[in-house]
């Protein structure tokens, strides 16, 4: 099967800035693919390369087996949901949604029906006569989704679509997007800087930094087995242990990551590794306590269930964790 989107050694340079630097990736058909990274990491430029708003400086891009270089956005079978939604302010909601069909020359009645169906799909039936300015942010985002989906794209590109929504709405939209993608079976490529969003929604995640993909894998792989210090740090808030510390634990002298929730307060006898330290600070997060412990000058964050008693600050404490939770990382970055 041909990948939905294929990047082979793709670079996009803006003058001396390498926004995207020799990126290889293959998005499978029907996949929910997330591109995760901080701002300026190249994830949005990758999305714009897929949409056709940017052309690669080097490399080769294919969309469903067809070469994409030099093909303008309006000749690609992909559609985009923009970060600022980019609804046309001079058109009502129905005409906004029907825009893609209108420029393709679909008849008035047919495109009205298709647009109304699309609005019903995003749970905004009967909103057709309103103007974008009369809608809330969440509603505008649904309209933007309907406007893209009405064209039956082979790949839907989403550029931080939930960034402007408040937390409650964002969680609701995450679920809806996920179920929409399952129902339609369309390939979704999703750009986000929110690791929680990427972990909960995506089938696979590409973690970007400095124009390069740091790691590409399932959410579990990226979270539990970060390949580089950047991934360990950016995806979640892993403890990054320096080589000399790791060597002291009996492993090879390499950087390693250790998830805060993998560490337990108190020693144990079931073969877990133990460390001794002093409590530096603690904060109550509702379902858990976040405790910072100083172990021979290295700060370790521990996520402890709220039911476990926490020793006061300054007290000595024993920590323990399973050997296999210590994850060795590549030397680079």
């Amino acid at each position: 099967m041909k990948p939905a989107v294929l990047f082979q050694n793709v670079s996009r340079h803006f003058g001396a800035v390498r926004a995207v630097d020799a990126v290889d990736l293959a998005v499978a058909e029907g996949e929910f693919f997330a591109m995760l990274g901080p701002s300026g990491s190249g994830k949005t430029t990758c999305l714009r390369l897929m949409a056709g708003f940017e052309q690669p400086t080097n490399g080769h891009i294919e969309i469903f087996g067809e070469t994409a270089e030099g093909v303008p956005p309006y000749k690609r079978s992909v559609n985009t949901v923009f970060q600022d939604y980019a609804l046309f302010p001079h058109l009502n909601i129905l005409d906004n949604v029907a825009y893609g069909l209108m420029v393709k020359g679909v008849g008035r009645e047919e495109r009205r029906k298709a647009a109304e169906d699309a609005l019903a799909m995003v749970k905004l039936p009967g909103y057709g006569a309103r103007r974008p300015g009369q809608l809330s942010g969440g509603q505008r985002q649904r309209v933007a989704l309907a406007r893209a989906l009405v064209n039956k794209p082979k790949v839907l590109l989403l550029d931080e679509p939930l960034g402007a929504l408040d937390l409650k709405l964002r969680e609701q939209m995450q679920e809806e997007l996920k179920s929409l993608q399952k129902t339609l079976g369309i390939t979704f490529v999703f750009v986000t800087h929110d690791q929680g969003e990427a972990l909960s929604m995506a089938d696979r995640i590409a973690v970007f930094n400095d124009g390069k993909i740091q790691q590409l894998g399932t959410p579990e792989e990226v979270y539990n087995q970060p390949k580089t210090r950047f991934v360990a740090d950016f995806v979640g808030s892993s403890n990054v242990l320096p080589p000399e510390f790791v060597a002291g634990l009996g492993a090879s002298s390499q950087f390693a990551s250790l998830r805060p929730e993998a560490i337990m307060l108190g020693g144990s006898s079931d073969g877990r590794l133990t460390l001794k330290g002093t409590v530096l600070s603690r904060s109550f997060l509702g379902s858990a306590n976040r405790v910072t412990v100083n172990v021979n000058g290295t700060k370790l964050h521990v996520m402890s269930p709220a039911t476990t008693a926490i020793p006061p600050e300054g007290d000595a404490v024993t920590l323990s964790f399973h050997r296999e939770d210590l994850h060795l990382m590549e030397a680079a970055s």
Binding site: A51, P73, V78, F82, A86, P89, H90, G100, V103, G133
Partner: protein, 269 residues
């Protein structure tokens, strides 16, 4: 912000006096269009008559000047609409070396005194051996008409977010369709307003025209010449009334068009 407090009486009187000083002379012009005395401006007019409207109607020189003015204003405006829009699009939508400088150079003709523009164009025309004609007047007027269109269009372009154009392309519209269905509806009122202002500016322009017009007379220049000869003076007043109406209506319309446009364009972000 509206203040609920009533202004002091002295301020009200001063404001009224200021407005009267500005507008009374214009009313006097209207009044003398109806006077029976045609040699001098005698106050009060000895009698009122409508005969000067008929006289004006039958004067071929008035028609010639009016026709020239309308044609010059129309064509200058048309040129300004095309060039001003293109320039505004380039300056607001793209980044290139010298963008700020170009923006300044485009606005310069309206900041320069008309007499400078006039002398510069006249010497340029004679240097290039271009005889004065209808087109030299149009060229002269286009220099400042472009500025008006450009200023209106560039302000609106800035509010049309770039992602609107990308969204249109993304949804399958080519460049022409994007211009027709997205850009034009969003900048249309600004162009109409700019075009009307440009038309009004061109219609009553005197200084640049005297340098670039040669022997031809646009309406304002014809009026200037008429004032020197005391023959059928009220005809000038009748024409002045028409000029006021012809230039005032488009400016008023332009004002209302751009005011309404704010709400439409503002929701794009």
């Amino acid at each position: 912000m509206h203040s609920d407090r009533s202004a002091p009486l002295g301020l009200k009187i001063a404001a009224a006096a200021g407005l009267l000083f500005l507008h009374l002379p214009i009313l006097l012009i209207f009044l003398y269009a109806f006077t029976t005395e045609d040699k001098s401006y005698q106050f009060p007019p000895p009698g009122l008559t409508l005969q000067w409207f008929a006289v004006t109607w039958n004067r071929p020189d008035v028609w010639q000047a009016l026709s020239l003015s309308v044609r010059v204003a129309s064509i200058s405006t048309a040129i300004a609409l095309v060039l001003g829009t293109l320039c505004a699009a380039a300056v607001s939508q793209t980044r290139f070396f010298g963008r700020e400088a170009i923006s300044l150079l485009v606005i310069l003709p309206i900041a320069l005194p008309g007499i400078i523009t006039g002398i510069a164009l006249r010497s340029a025309f004679s240097f290039a051996d271009i005889p004065f004609s209808f087109w030299t007047i149009v060229l002269g007027h286009a220099t400042f008409c472009i500025v008006v269109v450009y200023n209106n269009a560039v302000a609106r372009f800035r509010r049309v977010s770039g992602s609107l154009m990308e969204a249109s392309m993304d949804l399958g519209a080519n460049g022409f369709q994007t211009f027709r269905h997205v850009i034009l509806p969003n900048i249309g009122t600004a162009l109409l307003a700019g075009g009307m202002l440009a038309f009004a500016l061109s219609f009553d322009e005197v200084i640049v025209t005297t340098f670039t017009g040669g022997q031809q007379s646009t309406l304002p220049i014809w009026m200037l010449q008429e004032l020197i000869r005391p023959r059928q003076r009220p005809v000038t007043n009748v024409v002045a009334m028409i000029v006021v109406i012809v230039t005032f209506l488009p400016i008023l319309a332009a004002y209302y068009l751009t005011r309404d446009g704010d709400q439409i364009a503002g929701s794009g972000k």
